[in-house]
């Protein structure tokens, strides 16, 4: 027992010494590094300064840190850039400084996954078309232990979209990630939004024609259309898609929401679905139905005021307020179309307190 104690004592004592010394060294080193970074303008805050004033900065191409900070800043600027001319100027600057080649070289010679991640992140920000193969390689792998690799590659791919085929490739990889990495449909929608914004209207229609139907990722694609200025052709394509898949509730919900974002009346779609037995469908219709059905048919939706689902009732009550329906108008329509609703106590209680709201959230 004494021997065991002695061995344990030695192990613990030595390891403690090592850890203690190591942590002290690390702590002191941190302060030194922090100072160095501060004076050489590479801290995160400095990066932000470069981000705002990158036009005035001439990076020293011989200095690795200098170039990395510059690449990150210019990439962030490019990502947030809304001005087309500025985006072209930024891309020109990236091209001239050969930033992509430089970062890609470092990516290829990385040793640790975190190192890879850092360079990949910068590559994505630079939005260089040459990175396409790299993204494909990453996404073709069955599994990454760090899920961010996959998300970055998807983001990168979306950012360099230039043709309908790119969106369809993105669709393919998103479908895979949806299964393997549990990404949400909303994330897929986000990547589609970025991607679709790089295409013109006819190319978007082309994508709609060729995208696989009845896939959760396609529903994400339809949601993404909300960010696009609609054309008649797009609207028709969506209606045709719905007709082909008339029994698909999830698809119909996505289509309805897209029409809502486009501020397009589709009374026939609402009329065919507002009494649907699927609660989710009624929830959606109660929320956006008034916007899609038009005023002359809006009384049809008053049935929602006594719906079994509290979410349907509440959504519709909110919608009435949002549409500035006066108490008098609601009462007169109820009397006219649904006189038996007057027996409903909760509805009467709600009407008692009802008032049109002056402001919106």
């Amino acid at each position: 027992m004494v021997e065991v104690t002695q061995v344990l004592s030695d192990i613990v004592w030595k390891s403690t010494q090592v850890f203690f010394v190591l942590s002290l060294i690390i702590f002191v080193t941190f302060f030194i590094i922090k100072k160095i970074l501060f004076y050489t303008n590479h801290t995160l805050s400095t990066k932000n300064i470069i981000y705002d004033n990158f036009h005035n900065i001439q990076p020293n191409t011989a200095n690795k840190l200098d170039l990395l900070a510059y690449a990150n800043s210019i990439g962030l600027r490019l990502l947030k850039s809304v001005n087309h001319n500025e985006a072209i100027a930024l891309k020109e600057s990236i091209h001239q400084t050969k930033l992509y080649t430089y970062i890609y070289k470092h990516y290829n010679t990385s040793h640790f996954s975190l190192e890879y991640l850092y360079y990949l992140n910068t590559i994505v920000l630079l939005q260089n078309e040459d990175a396409r193969l790299l993204y494909h390689d990453i996404l073709a792998k069955e599994h990454h232990t760090i899920v961010e690799f996959n998300i970055l590659a998807l983001h990168g791919l979306a950012l360099i979209t230039s043709a309908p085929n790119d969106v369809l490739t993105l669709h393919h990889f998103l479908t895979k990630s949806y299964k393997n990495y549990w990404i949400s449909q909303k994330l897929a929608t986000y990547f589609f939004v970025i991607s679709l914004k790089k295409l013109n209207n006819s190319e978007i229609v082309h994508v709609l024609q060729r995208a696989p139907e009845n896939s959760y990722i396609t529903y994400g694609l339809i949601y993404a259309l909300r960010a696009i200025k609609p054309t008649q052709e797009m609207k028709e394509k969506l209606l045709q898609l719905q007709e082909r898949n008339a029994q698909n509730d999830v698809l119909l919900i996505a289509i309805l929401r897209t029409f809502y974002a486009w501020k397009t009346y589709v009374p026939e779609l609402i009329l065919s679905s507002y009494t649907h037995e699927n609660e989710l469908m009624r929830i959606v219709c109660s929320k956006i139905g008034l916007d899609l059905i038009g005023r002359n048919l809006s009384h049809k939706l008053l049935i929602y005021l006594v719906d079994d689902s509290q979410y349907v009732r509440n959504n519709f009550m909110d919608a009435l307020q949002r549409h500035q329906y006066s108490k008098e108008k609601i009462i007169s329509e109820l009397k006219k179309y649904y006189p038996n609703f007057y027996k409903n106590q909760p509805l009467m209680q709600w009407l008692k307190y009802y008032r049109v709201r002056a402001t919106h959230a």
């Binding site: 613990v12 403690t16 690390i26 899920v147 961010e148 960010a227 509290q310 509440n314 009550m317």
Partner: protein, 462 residues
């Protein structure tokens, strides 16, 4: 006598084993957390997710804040919630039967008007007296109800909430403007997510103006400073480490985002000491039982700032309550322990919480007694005492310093050098003063709980 000494020797080795396991597991969790932290650091997550909002891709959320006798702070608390950077959210303040002017001040300041309750009150709670809305702030709702405690107030608010996600906060906490946005990223990145928590910071010592944190500082008083350090270490190792392997079972009551549908399925909060702990465990249990793939996320950033106890009396009282909450929750969910059906939670996290966290104080107490007895009888070797000293104190310092270093390297919650120096010094003295004090209180809490509370709990019909 010989038998007694043999027993104490065995306790001593058990204590040694306990210390080794505790320190090694904490170091492992810290290492996992550090790697995770670096991923976040090297990955411009903010860029992606600020763009999500820009493209109107988000999940709307209801923020629930119970308030009991908060007349002094309630108005500024509401304003701090109103200025969150998020496109669609609903704020529900629950006046839980306050007997001060909390409701009166809310009514007059926000010019509230009464509205009808149209929701189905599925979860049980005390009677709601009235529901109010603000004419100016469309997303602000105030519930006035009879007193029933925090869990009861939250149940009432969940019933009246309208969005698929709910965020439970304490009314007196300060949320970072981007708190909800950060929280939401986890739900969007991984659709299995059922709940997320975030790191909590301590406001003591910091400069606050209009319920906004203007300058973050480490407080001067020892008791508050120790807690700052403890929070840094705790959230870093305790939460992030577990999150990585889907073993997180605790989300702080001060800030947590949950999927409403799952909460409704399990019947909402229960009236327990550790209601937050209990809620998340029941959510996870429900998912496991119904074969729902799920995960619980943790946001590395400090999303919420709160006041910590500023004197030892209040601190010990708080920790006593936490310890009893831990024991109570583990007792309620004892059927999950060591069951493969409950995955990492049943096989790793819960046993860890039981053996290391819950029974730790008893283990330490018995270990210290055994060392004293064995030393008195001259049976213990000096090298053994050195081992205990190293494991209990020096390793404690190492863990403190390491977590502080990781924090500085990645999160940078505090940016002033004086704050780091303060925290560094506190790291060194913490194992000698603060930890023993807490362990003594936790031991008393455990002892009290085992003696009395369990009898009562057995009679509860939950």
């Amino acid at each position: 006598m010989l038998d007694m000494i043999i027993i104490f020797e065995q306790i001593q080795y058990l204590y040694l084993f306990y210390l080794l396991v505790t320190n090694l597991s904490t170091m492992t969790l810290m290492w996992i957390a550090f790697k995770r932290m670096l991923v976040t650091y090297f990955y411009n997550i903010d860029v992606t997710f600020y763009s999500l909002i820009k493209h109107e891709i988000f999940i709307p959320i209801s923020i629930l804040a119970p308030a009991y006798n908060e007349q002094e702070t309630i108005i500024s608390s509401v304003y701090s919630l109103l200025k969150l950077n998020f496109p669609e959210y609903q704020i529900i303040i629950i006046n839980d039967g306050s007997n001060d002017e909390t409701l009166k001040r809310l009514l007059s300041h926000f010019d509230l008007y009464e509205v009808a309750i149209t929701n189905d009150l599925i979860l049980e709670h005390q009677k709601i007296r009235a529901l109010y809305r603000s004419p100016k702030y469309d997303n602000l709702f105030i519930i006035d109800k009879e007193n029933g405690g925090k869990s009861d107030a939250l149940n009432a608010a969940i019933n009246l909430s309208k969005y698929p996600l709910i965020c439970c906060v304490d009314a007196d906490t300060i949320l970072e403007e981007t708190a909800i946005l950060h929280g939401l990223t986890k739900f969007i990145q991984d659709r299995r997510t059922i709940a997320i928590g975030g790191a909590i910071g301590i406001t003591n010592g910091s400069v606050i103006k209009d319920h906004t944190l203007v300058e973050k500082k480490v407080p001067n008083s020892l008791v508050e400073g120790f807690q700052v350090l403890e929070y840094l270490r705790g959230f870093f190792a305790g939460r992030m480490g577990w999150e990585k392997h889907n073993g997180l079972i605790l989300v702080s009551g001060a800030f947590g985002i949950f999927r409403k549908d799952i909460i409704m399925k399990i019947g909402g909060y229960r009236h327990t000491i550790g209601e937050d702990f209990d809620l998340l465990l029941r959510m996870r249990k429900y998912c496991y039982n119904n074969h729902i793939r799920h995960t619980v996320g943790f946001v590395e950033e400090i999303l919420c700032w709160t006041q910590c106890p500023s004197d030892y009396g209040s601190l010990l009282k708080q920790r006593n309550r936490w310890q009893r909450g831990l024991l109570e929750t583990l007792y309620y969910h004892k059927d999950m322990l060591f069951r493969r059906k409950y995955g990492v939670v049943g096989m790793v996290t819960m046993p860890y919480f039981l053996l290391i966290e819950a029974l730790g104080p008893i283990m330490t107490f018995m270990g210290v007694i055994s060392i004293i007895v064995l030393y008195t009888f001259g049976v213990i070797s000096s090298s053994m005492i050195v081992i205990f000293f190293l494991l209990e104190f020096v390793w404690g310092i190492l863990l403190n310093v390491s977590s502080l270093y990781f924090e500085i390297l990645t999160k940078r919650s505090y940016t002033k050098s004086t704050s780091f120096i303060k925290l560094f010094l506190l790291s060194i003295i913490e194992p000698f003063f603060y930890k023993p004090l807490l362990k003594a209180e936790l031991f008393l809490a455990t002892f009290n709980f085992m003696n009395s509370s369990w009898g009562e709990i057995k009679r509860k019909s939950l």
